[in-house]
Symmetry: C2
Amino acid sequence: ELVVNVNKDMVNALGLGQVTSEPPSKFSFVSWNLDGLDERNLKRRTKAVCKIIYMEHPDVIFFQEMIPETFSYIEGKLPEYMCIAGSTEGYFTATLLRRFTVYYDSHRITEHSGSLMMRNLLTVEAHIGSLKLQLVNTHLESTRDHSAERIKQLKDSFKIAQDFPEDYTVLLAGDMNLRDKELELAGGIPPGIEDLWISCGSRKECQYTWDMVRNCNKELPGKFKPRCRFDRAYIRHSHPKRVVPAHFGLVGIEKVTSTQCFPS
Amino acid sequence: ELVVNVNKDMVNALGLGQVTSEPPSKFSFVSWNLDGLDERNLKRRTKAVCKIIYMEHPDVIFFQEMIPETFSYIEGKLPEYMCIAGSTEGYFTATLLRRFTVYYDSHRITEHSGSLMMRNLLTVEAHIGSLKLQLVNTHLESTRDHSAERIKQLKDSFKIAQDFPEDYTVLLAGDMNLRDKELELAGGIPPGIEDLWISCGSRKECQYTWDMVRNCNKELPGKFKPRCRFDRAYIRHSHPKRVVPAHFGLVGIEKVTSTQCFPS
DNA sequence: CCAGCTAGG
DNA sequence: CCCTAGCTG
C-alpha cells in the first residue's frame, strides 16, 4: 500500500500495487507541505509529522516547506529514511526514501526559471526491485496573483514527466497550489498522465488537500471556510505498465496531542 | 504610409512600404480602442476620431470597444470605408477597409473560448493589388486579474497568425492589454512574427499606447500616472516578403476641440 | 494562503 | 483600466 500525502494540512493516502509479484509488491507514497514558514508550534508539529511517518512507514515521501532546522530534525528522527533536500536555504522541498525498500540512484534539481519564490523541481531517480522510478517533487508558485507563472510551471513539469524514457514510472506530485480553472488554461492533463485522486475514484472525502473546514491552523475573520485541492499527485506509467493505483486518502487530519493545532 | 493606431488613447502610425512597385506601393494601418464603454463625451469623441480618420485616410483600421451606436455613426460618417463588425451587441471590434485601395474578400469571427468578456478574433481577408492580407483584429482579456486567460488568448492568436498560407501577409493587432512579463510567460514572440513597434526602431516617444501621463480621460486620485504598451501590432510576413515596415507612430494624442478630453 | 471587492497611491 | 493593500464572506 502506498500512502500519498499531497497536503500540507493532511495527508492523502494512495495505494499502488505493482503488477509484478516481485517483493515489495506494493509501495506507498506521501506528499506533505509542512508549513515550515509558520513558526507557531513548529517543533511540536514536526514531531507529530515524524510520528505519523513512523507509524505509516511510507516508502516515498515528498515534503514541501521544509526549513533547514526541520530537515536536520527529521534526518535525526527518521534514520530509516534517506533524505534528499531541494535546497539548503529558506524553505524547500525534500524527498525521503525508505532505505529498506527504495534504492536511491541519483537526483537533480531543476529551477522553475520564472519563479519569484525560489521554486524548483526535485527529481530523484530510484528503484524498488526492478521497478524504475522518477520521483518529481515540487511546490509550484503560490497565491492567486501568480496564476500565470504557476500555469507555466505546471506545463513545464508535465513536459518533464512526459519526457522520461518509457521504462520509468514517474510520480509528479507536491503542493501545486492549483485551481481547476488553471489546469484548463494549461491545456488540461496531457496524454499519458493521470491524476491519482481521480484514478482512485475521485472520492469527495479526500478531495480537498488544503481545507479550512477541517483544519483550523489558520483562521479567517469571517465565517467562510475555503477549501481547495492544491496538493496533487500525477503518475506517468511506464511501458509496459508496472504500477496500479490502489488507494488515495488523507493523513494528518487529527490535531496534535496537547496542542490546539494540526501538524500542518 | 501606413498609420497604425494601437492605442485607445492615441494612435500609432506605422508606415509599411510594399517591395513591389504596384500601386498603391504603400499602405497605412491604424488600431484604436475607442473606449466606447465610457459614455462621457462619447459622441464628441467619436466625431473627433472620424475627423482624424478622414484626415489621415488610413487604408485599414482596427477598432476596439466599438458599440452599436458608434458603429452606425461611423458607417454613416465614413462612407469611403467598408465596415466589418466583430459582433452586434455589447462592445466589440470592427475593421474598416478603405474602398479605393483595399478589397474585401471574406471575414470570419473566432471566439476566444475561455473569455469571460466575449472577446474574439475578427479576421478579414482582403487584398491591395496583388498583396494578399489577413487582417486579424482583437481585444484580449482585460485587467491584471485575467492575465492567464490573456496569455492563452495571445498564444492562440499567434498560432492563428502563423498558420495562414505563406502567400498572405498577416497583421495581428489590437488592444492586447499585454504586459511584457506576460509575453515572456507566453514564450515570447514566435518565430516569423515581428512586433511592428520594435521593427520601426522601438522609439520611446511612441512606446506607451495606454498612457495616463499624456491622456487625462481617466484621472487617478494619487499622483501616480501609469503607462503601458497595451496595444500592439504584429506582422507575419508573406514568403516571399512583400511588405517593409516603414513608420510607427501615435495619433489621437491631442484633446478634442471644445472639450477637456481626448478622443479615447 | 480563498475570492471578490474597494480604497488609496 | 495602473498597482498594492486591506477588508469581508
